[in-house]
Symmetry: C2
Amino acid sequence: MRSPKEMRDLFRKNERVMTTSDLCPHYLQTNLISLPYEYAFDFLLFCKRNPKACPLIEVLEPGQVEPTTAFGADIRTDVPKYRVYKNGQFSKEVLNLYDDWCDSFVTFLIGCSFTFEKALVEQGIQLLHQEQQRVIPMYRTTIPCQSVGMFTGNMVVSMRPLKPSEVDQAIDITSKFETSHGSPVHIGDPNEIGIEDINHPDYGESVDFEEDRVPVFWACGVTPQNVLEKAGIPIFVSHAPGHMFITDSVEEYR
Amino acid sequence: MRSPKEMRDLFRKNERVMTTSDLCPHYLQTNLISLPYEYAFDFLLFCKRNPKACPLIEVLEPGQVEPTTAFGADIRTDVPKYRVYKNGQFSKEVLNLYDDWCDSFVTFLIGCSFTFEKALVEQGIQLLHQEQQRVIPMYRTTIPCQSVGMFTGNMVVSMRPLKPSEVDQAIDITSKFETSHGSPVHIGDPNEIGIEDINHPDYGESVDFEEDRVPVFWACGVTPQNVLEKAGIPIFVSHAPGHMFITDSVEEYR
């Protein structure tokens, strides 16, 4: 089992490009958003007002690239894959941010539900996206976020199909991981939160599951990508969905 | 017993100018900071990094004056007394902010230890500053805050002298009020946190107490005044220490 630093080094050298879902169990994984300073106040306040979708782990001041949660790391290189958005449109996926980095960028590390997956597996809960080696499926919903200025929109969720007998236990476990999205935001019928086809996720990959399983939905740190894209700001960068930043912090829950 | 709205109306009309320490028990009271938008990101991040001194209740976007925690209120008039700071210096105390308000001001409502005082009193703990009708004594300390850019400095604390037998109970009670500074930051010898003379507070008024009482110190929302003053920004406004904004929110603890 490789350490977070070893994995970050592999990502830095582009020797691996993969979802981080079952890597480095017990370590905190994060979503990444870097955007120009002029939007940083509004976005920081957006995170404060939407703690379920955007639980803040750390904020790096303008131009800073080394988080306190990962000594020696560089957030421009140590994520397996990035997305660049320009003028409200997805522009490209890249393996590092050297060409698209601006010194005015403020970076936000936002908690990720991958952090609590090991705790679920340890209780015998089978995670199909891991077994099927898929990037976890994520969906845009009709659940509204609290707005700040031009930052407005709906929540993105990740989905894990569970056995009915596992649902209560999964709620109990994940509710303790407050900085990693905590308890589910929806259980059951996807239509109720505006998801038309569970087999066509908006991000990640579809997971095969039998009808006796219940889809369980957690708030997802891809929500800001959805909201920032809609706001049409000139540029921002993020991790590619499912390809997270792995910190040296051991998961914390309360 | 007057409601928060009734008290705010009295303050708005300048019919009362007083410390809010024992007013509207069970309602959340807050510190107030309003500052120009250009400093708002750094200050919001300062609050996030220093949650003990600066637990955020609410942030109002530029120019907004009505909090969601107090319907119909106006933060420019509904605090009993304000302070205006210019170029890093205390400038004046005023009863409303009409002359000093800027449309670019972003307002931060920060939790206050007055919120948990009723819970202490209900458990039979005598609060001497209330009995002696003094503004609670507050002190600059040597406890460092986490810095953000130019915002750097030490924590300000409030002090309540308790009987030794009450200290454990006071810790238990106040630790539940996380958004109102929570548990004490220091108990006992004031010198250990850089307070030279307990009888000469930096803010508020001295409280008389016998030697058998223990001074107990809580993080205080006057900390930002200390930090912003030191940073020397052109202008910011705050409540006058001890003269808080009273919201309509019933105290919440976890």
